[in-house]
Amino acid sequence: MDRRSFLRTSAVLASGLAALAASLSPLRKLDDYVSLERFVQKYYKELTPEEMKQVLKRIENEVERQYGIRPHVRDLKPMDGVEYVYALNLTRCIGCRKCVHACVQENNLSRTPEIQYIRVLKMPHGSLDVEKGEHNYAPESVPEKGFFYMPVQCQQCKNPPCVKVCPVHATWQETDGITVVDYDWCIGCRYCEAACPYWARRFNFTQPSIPKERINPDMAYLGNRPRRQGVMEKCHFCIQRTRVGRYPACLEVCPAGARKFGNILDPNSEVSYILRTKRVFIQLKEELGTSPRFFYYFDT
């Protein structure tokens, strides 16, 4: 081989290798997508308390690196003797959508693209057919004459179709009735989204984006810790609030007092009283047999 052809061949080889290296360069940021600790992490239900501590620390570090805020992440377990029920008073709801945005703020939902757990339907009087619902209403002021408003979110079914279809058991029903998602176990197949008759599940098609100043640092593992691209999420009755005894964020912001939440096993709770005394229009799409824990009702 003469000198010239040697130089030529090595130039081709060198540039080819450079191109190959450059094409693999995104691997340098692999840690952003999956850290080794997360990759080898065990299933949520198999984690020992010690391992859980490590996991929570890892999540805190990851959130701090990504958003510049040190969060407080907890793993909250269901309380004994508690089964959550939500009751929503359709006579009171004025359709102001404050619950939608309080939920986004509380649960660290992506702002661009937009992910919202609650969808408020504007429905004509005289029908409960959700097909007649309209969610893009934007009048000067609400409520509008001749309409009522029906916020729809995860119904926390007793017989949840989304849990049945999950091929990896990344979503399950807890003993207090909340159906949760382990965002570190979800493979993003979206079967649950297809199975849900209430359109309650949301998929992260892109990396969610949340401005730093709108991060809620009070987080829970099965609750509002930031999600990543390619996983499902859904309403979890504000686990980080309700499992320490507080009301969910959507309830506290409702200006009309249309939202009621509590423990159905406690006969003195508001929800027990409501289900006993009010005209409860049982559950949304009750004919499907999902048996929601979310009740819509009317009063005077």
Binding site: A19, A102, T112, H135, A138, P139, V142, T242, F261, E270
Partner: protein, 237 residues
């Protein structure tokens, strides 16, 4: 063997070139291809490093929602709220203008509608349909204007106004006591912390009780409209 041709090979290229022009042509081609490959590879490397493809189209950021929509404050503030916040209570200082022990005289037009004096022009009377509840002293105490009174004569302080409401709206009051009517915040689990229950007048104007209408928060934005145009603050239909 042909001597001259062996010499040709030993002497190298020029003779061969003259004798077999196609051989140089293929070398020339090889040089071109290799140079082309170098350019291509360098270009690819640059493209990979700059991540020219594989990057999704940038999304127009959706405007953040006005923090006013995240506010958990009530629609109105009750007398108790004003006292707690140490704010201006002059609206409740009746005897700054009225005389004690001299009940104000109510005036009506020919249809028995209450004529509201200029000093109270901020009050809109709309309690009860068809102007039925048109007597100030159905709720206010005639002799002591700084008190309220129920229709059976019980005297009630401004701070306890919900009891007055309950003297007519019994079932609603019952719901309110349980927590089924009106706003509650704090702890559903009473053993973990306190609750805050709002008074009737935190949401209802006692002179015109229907819940006021308000502008709705922005509706949902579609994902595919993001790549096309900046989104207006309020969604279009």
């Amino acid at each position: 063997m042909d001597q001259p041709s062996a010499e040709d090979d030993q002497r190298g290229l020029p003779t061969g070139y003259q004798q077999r022009p196609h051989r140089m042509n293929s070398r020339f081609k090889a040089t071109l291809v290799l140079r082309g490959l170098v350019v291509l590879f360098v270009g690819l490397a640059a493209a990979f490093l700059l991540n020219l493809w594989g990057r999704p189209a940038p999304l127009h950021p959706i405007p953040l929602v006005d923090p006013a929509f995240l506010d958990t404050a009530t629609v109105r503030r009750s007398y108790a709220d004003l006292v707690r916040a140490k704010e201006d209570l002059s609206d409740f200082d009746c005897y700054a203008c009225h005389e004690k022990n001299k009940p104000p005289v109510l005036r009506y037009d020919e249809h028995q509608n209450l004529l509201i004096p200029r000093e109270h022009s901020d009050i809109v009377m709309g309690h009860g349909q068809h102007g039925r509840n048109n007597n100030c002293f159905n709720c206010h105490n005639e002799t002591n204007l700084e008190l309220l009174q129920t229709r059976d004569g019980r005297q009630v302080k401004f701070a306890d106004s919900s009891q007055l409401c309950g003297s007519c709206h019994g079932p609603t009051y019952e719901d309110w006591e349980v927590g089924a009517h009106g706003r509650i915040s704090g702890y559903w689990n009473r053993s973990r912390g306190p609750i805050k229950r709002q008074d009737c007048v935190n949401c209802h104007n006692p002179h015109a009780p229907p819940f006021p209408s308000r502008p709705p928060a922005p509706g949902p934005h579609l994902l595919h409209e993001l790549a096309e145009a900046p989104v207006p603050a309020a969604t279009a239909h």
